[in-house]
């Protein structure tokens, strides 16, 4: 039997029962639709979180040093804000070959921020760092602050938040505890990171006062995060290895950190990869749950196909009486089942993209088209159809023509 004949024969059987065929494919449509919807939403979320972060910053020879803290339940990514990286650690790393600078990043907790007559409560973050921290930043205006001054560098988001802040303007912020600090804007940087809050950067000296007692018995400033600049992208990995070896070895940070925590020394690529992997895991997990609908869909196809075999017993008998072999019959029913599965999957892909697009629009996330999943979904439809069709096709092939064409 030629493939074209098999196909057109099976297709006709499907078209002969439009309502039933539609209901049969519904299970697969919903299953595949759910999977695609979650893949779209997951992809869009990932896109929303990361944006073109990697493209913008991936070529900068930077290392981020952070402390990862495990979650008690579930999976996720949490960075500890405990200040464990001491001045001593910074100086040690800075002295390493291949390292051009080490900039600490410390958080200063503020409650309110004021520019001229405008005051906002919360929503603006204040970080302490050193001028080296701006090595790879793009200044829209001005330049980095000097250490030991009341100068600040702000990102564009601050300017947007207060309807325009310019170099030379003054900003006041109230720390937790009520102390008010006033700084003068020295530069404005462009930080094109998704969800980056308005941030005011101030020099650690004199604004950052987190002091810890080091294992060596001294009292030093300590920070929850460091940014290490390597000499070039070529030396980035060796700088990373050295910094990591030290921080995992006899650094203050290693002694100060909690036992459960892990010190991460990551390139921008590493970080993006880590976040992408995590989001992918979550997306696949949720899509896997949606995949249960697909199993239900497969059972639906099998169910209807069995009914269809019983109903078409006579037709099977006729085909056998004119020379159809078991193989012919199996072929016809299997192809029918596979067509149902594939059509269901294709419609499911459309439905998934539709619902996904609506969801993405409502959440104002960027739309993504996980095209590899279209291929995977279609493949799944094919497999579902084939698996669901095996038993019914076998039943059909086993029809006894004498009984099917029962006379007497």
């Amino acid at each position: 039997m030629r493939a074209r004949d098999t196909f057109s024969f099976s297709w006709r059987a499907i078209r002969g029962h439009k309502l039933r065929s539609t209901l049969t494919t519904l299970g697969v449509i919903i299953g595949v639709g759910a999977i695609i919807t979650f893949m779209v939403l997951g992809g869009a979320f990932s896109e929303n979180v990361l944006g073109n972060f990697d493209e913008l910053y991936g070529d900068q020879p930077l290392l981020l040093v952070q402390t990862q803290t495990p979650l008690d339940d579930g999976f996720g990514l949490i960075f500890s804000m405990t200040p464990i990286y001491t001045e001593h650690d910074i100086a040690t790393i800075e002295a390493m070959e291949d390292v051009s600078f080490v900039a600490p990043l410390g958080q200063i907790a503020v409650t309110q921020t004021r520019v001229g007559g405008q005051q906002v409560t919360g929503g603006v973050s204040v970080s302490a760092t050193t001028p080296a921290g701006f090595t790879f930043d793009t200044f829209l205006d001005g330049e980095a602050f000097d250490m030991g001054t009341n100068e600040a560098v702000i990102n564009r988001q601050v300017s947007d938040r207060f309807d325009g802040v310019e170099v030379g303007d003054t900003i006041s912020f109230t720390r937790e505890g009520g102390v008010v600090t006033t700084v003068t804007v020295r530069g404005i940087i462009d930080e094109d990171i998704p969800n980056q809050p308005p941030t005011i950067y101030v020099p650690v000296d004199p604004h950052y006062q987190q002091i810890v007692e080091t294992p060596r018995g001294t009292n030093e400033r300590a920070y929850p995060m460091l940014v290490i600049g390597a000499d070039s992208l070529e030396t980035l990995r060796s700088a990373q290895d050295m910094a990591r070896a030290y921080l995992h070895g006899d650094s203050d940070a290693n002694a100060l950190k909690s036992d459960r925590d892990t010190i991460l020394v990551q390139t921008i690529d590493d970080l993006v990869q880590q976040i992408t992997d995590l989001l992918d895991q979550i997306t696949v997990f949720i899509a896997g749950i949606a995949g249960i609908a697909l199993v239900v869909g497969a059972i639906g196809i099998a169910n209807i196909m069995i009914v269809s075999v019983v109903e078409r017993t006579r037709e099977i008998g006729i085909m056998k009486s004119v020379g159809a072999t078991r193989r012919h019959i199996i072929q016809l029913f299997l192809v029918e089942s596979i067509i149902l599965g594939v059509i269901g999957a294709l419609l499911g892909v459309l439905l998934g993209f539709g619902i996904g697009a609506l969801g993405v629009m409502a959440l104002e996330w960027p739309m993504v088209y996980p095209l590899e999943w279209v291929v995977i979904a279609t493949g799944m439809g094919l497999i579902v159809g084939a698996l669901a069709g095996v038993y019914p096709a076998w039943r059909a092939a086993s029809v006894d023509p004498v009984i099917a064409l029962g006379r007497e």
């Binding site: 024969f9 006729i318 020379g323 072999t325 004498v402 006379r407 007497e408």
Partner: protein, 233 residues
């Protein structure tokens, strides 16, 4: 040589187990010459349909040997029997058994789909057959758009499309009125005259009388083979 014979049945038996054994065929011995026209008559349960199923290779023999066109049918695998059916045999049923969703020409060309013969020009071949049996103007009709007589003609065209040497018919006029039934029997007579062997099961005496001989059956055995003389009156 057995090829002069269309069918040689040597004490074939078939027993069904429906609670207790039923001897549907109980040692039937029968020789049908090539090109013969035979009617099989008998009351319900006499085994005449079982005999037709055996000749049609739809059912397997428990005992005895059955040779059709020189081939020992009892030795064949299921697949071989299917191939044999599509090339050597044509079936005509009382209830026509057309595929409801297929057009007349598609029904006729159905055996060509499963056979090994080249499938080019299927439609042309089906049209020729429909022409031959007198429904050349119903090529694109669906079965439910045809009268009973037309449906049976389409079914006969289907049985003939692979040019089988043996045509098997089970009460082919049973669902038709007398006049239509007579025209169908004229068609069988023509096919017989052209050289096709025909075996026909019926319980109507006047239908059986179109044949050259009548095989009478009771309780799975042949009781009498009654010659009727020359056909084509």
């Amino acid at each position: 040589m057995s090829t002069e014979h269309s069918v040689i049945a040597d004490s074939i038996s078939r027993t069904y187990y429906v609670g207790e054994p039923v001897h549907a065929l109980d040692g039937v011995t029968l020789e049908l010459p090539a090109g013969s026209f035979t009617a099989v008559m008998g009351p319900s349960g006499s085994g005449k349909s079982t005999l037709l199923n055996m000749l049609g290779c739809l059912d397997t023999i428990d005992e005895g040997t059955l040779t059709i066109h020189g081939r020992d049918v009892g030795d064949m695998s299921e697949r071989e029997r299917a191939m044999f059916r599509s090339t050597e045999l044509g079936f005509v049923f009382q209830a026509f058994y057309l595929m409801p969703r297929l057009r007349a020409w598609e029904n006729v060309s159905l055996p060509l789909l499963f056979g090994e013969a080249p499938t080019d020009g299927r439609r042309a071949r089906a049209e020729r057959m429909l022409d031959r049996v007198g429904v050349g103007d119903r090529i694109d009709h669906l079965p439910n758009e045809l009268s009973g007589g037309q449906r049976q003609r389409v079914a006969i065209a289907r049985a003939l499309v692979n040019e089988p040497r043996l045509l098997l018919a089970d009460e082919p006029t049973g669902n038709l009125d007398t006049k239509t039934g007579a025209s169908i029997m004229e068609l069988f007579t023509e096919l017989h005259v052209e050289g096709t062997s025909v075996v026909l099961v019926t319980h109507e005496r006047y239908i059986a009388e179109y044949a050259e001989q009548v095989v009478h059956m009771v309780d799975g055995r042949i009781t009498e083979i009654e010659p009727l003389g020359e056909v084509g009156r």
